[in-house]
């Protein structure tokens, strides 16, 4: 049972919950929440490996997590903007309403 495993199990649990939610939810925003959870799960595993991982070079894991937080912020902004645009055209946010390509 190496030192990083509990954190990896936590990341796995988080990932699974996020994915289950993203798949099950009809509301676009909550799907986005699920995706956020999955992203954070990945982040957690990076930091776990950076802390307990064998590799001597100190920063790569940390740096990657840092950049992924920034990118996740941008992704959330664009995703929500898409949802607003979708709402304006379809008057609802459920994912079923978004299947037609017209308009």
């Amino acid at each position: 049972m190496n030192p990083a495993q509990p954190y990896l199990f936590l990341a796995a649990a988080l990932f699974i919950i996020g994915m289950a939610g993203a798949l099950a939810r009809r509301n676009a925003i909550l799907a986005l929440v699920g995706i956020e959870l999955m992203l954070n799960a990945a982040n957690l595993s990076f930091v776990a490996f950076w802390r307990h991982g064998p590799h001597p070079d100190p920063q790569t894991g940390l740096m990657f997590a840092l950049f992924s937080i920034a990118i996740a912020g941008a992704e959330a902004a664009v995703g929500l903007a898409l949802i607003i645009a979708l709402f304006r055209h379809r008057r609802s946010v459920s994912l079923e309403a978004a299947e037609s390509l017209k308009g």
């Binding site: 649990a13 289950a20 939610g21 982040n43 930091v47 920034a70 941008a74 664009v78 949802i83 304006r88």
Partner: protein, 178 residues
């Protein structure tokens, strides 16, 4: 397996379950914030304090508010559309179970974990700064570009067409027919 990990890990799991299972979307958003705080605590526990605080600043400070604002703007939470796809949980649960089996199996069977050669040196903020400016200067600039592009894109998408630019309008500039 420090006691802090148990506390923050618990927060994360409870928050994530809440974010996915609660009925009222705004409650989901708030329990998402609990997850973020739990994660930040885990990062601090792992010694990456700059990352933990950045996580709070970015996620709790901005993304969560954005999420909740959009929920209000799009009038969710009034319970018109059923929140869960019919039979959704069954589908989601099945796929999640498969992935879970794969992940846990991989994690449990890992072996041959070489302990660290030299003791762990926690980088100070200055070291992170130096690393950012020397080894990671290219990713830094790219993230800058991506963030600007995302900001402009989000603004154009979100602005209502009436005051917006040419986006989404017929060539003569009238309202697109619904």
């Amino acid at each position: 397996m420090t006691p802090w990990f148990l506390l923050f890990g618990g927060l994360v799991v409870v928050g994530a379950l809440g974010a996915m299972a609660l009925r009222n979307p705004v409650h989901c958003g708030l329990s998402l914030v609990v997850t973020f705080v739990g994660l930040a605590g885990t990062y601090l526990d792992l010694g990456a304090d700059f990352l933990g605080l950045a996580q709070i600043l970015v996620y709790v400070g901005a993304v969560a508010i954005l999420l909740v604002f959009v929920m209000l703007l799009t009038r969710t939470g009034r319970g018109e559309s059923p929140e869960v796809r019919p039979g959704g949980w069954w589908w989601g649960g099945l796929v999640a179970a498969l992935v879970a089996v794969g992940l846990v199996g991989a994690l449990a069977s890992v072996s041959g974990w070489k302990p660290r050669s030299e003791p762990m040196t926690f980088p100070t903020v200055r070291d992170l700064g130096v690393a950012l400016m020397t080894d990671f200067v290219l990713p830094l600039q790219l993230v800058g570009v991506v963030l600007t592009a995302a900001m402009i894109g989000a603004a154009i998408l979100a602005l209502p067409e009436r005051r917006g630019g040419r986006v989404g309008r017929t060539p003569k500039g009238e309202e697109p027919e619904q």
